[in-house]
Amino acid sequence: MPVTIHIPTLFRPLVAARSTVAAAEGTVGELFAQLDARYPGFLDGVIEEGELRPRLYVFVNGREIRSDRGLQTPVGVGDEVHLLPSIRGGARCAS
């Protein structure tokens, strides 16, 4: 079973409106590169200066990767990857 990547609504226009896409195992960065090969422009949507864009988080099997190995985090067959923008706000919140 390949890796399943869950795509938030923000990025679905980049992947032909799909809510999930499949990829072969690799690091998170390699998975994103696979998606960019199939859906050109995907990398520009999620990566900025070699890092995940601000306010964007990636979870592998429910574990957030920013504070761990980041884009080098390995993803195996059958694993699940979730991309999620932050959910925050408030009266004095700077965006």
């Binding site: 699940e80 923008p85 959910i87």
Partner: protein, 155 residues
């Protein structure tokens, strides 16, 4: 875009927001999407993980919890259709922070609860369409009567 909410969910949101004041509360709206409307079946409160000193004005939903809920809903008819948060001190107004958040979450309900309003607490919700939609628009909210809500929320 229309938003259908069972009365008991509306009442729960209002009571939850009022009880937590002066802290702001937040959480997930679960339900189903359809042509021109979103049906909420239940609201799921989440811890406000904003800095402790800021929780009267700010909120943040723990994304790990969102992932867990999303995984638990896999294979069910429900999905995460939106988010809610309260404004303990103000009205349910559309603010720049809501606009910024909605820019990251198109096609997702963004609800604001103002528990302090009298005689009724106020719920308002916004929605931004898909790719290319310039900004959020306020949703028409319909409170679903208990008899009809049962078909939305089997429990």
């Amino acid at each position: 875009m229309r938003l259908l909410i069972p009365a008991r969910v509306r009442d729960m949101l209002s009571a939850y927001a009022a009880a937590a004041a002066p802290a702001a509360v937040c959480g997930l709206l679960l339900g189903q999407g359809g042509a021109g409307e979103i049906r909420v079946s239940r609201a799921l409160p989440c811890p406000n993980t904003a800095a402790a000193g800021d929780r009267a004005h700010r909120f943040e939903i723990d994304l790990g919890g969102v992932v867990n809920v999303s995984r638990s809903l896999s294979g069910t008819a429900e999905q995460i259709v939106g988010f809610f948060h309260s404004r303990p001190y103000g009205g349910a107004e559309w603010e720049s922070s809501d606009r910024a958040a909605l820019a990251l979450w198109p096609e997702t309900v963004w609800m604001v609860v103002a528990p302090a309003k009298r005689p009724q607490p106020v719920l308002r919700a916004w929605w931004r369409g898909g790719h290319g939609a310039p900004r959020g628009v306020e949703m028409e909210i319909e409170i679903v009567a208990p008899s009809r809500a049962r078909s939305l929320c089997p429990d």
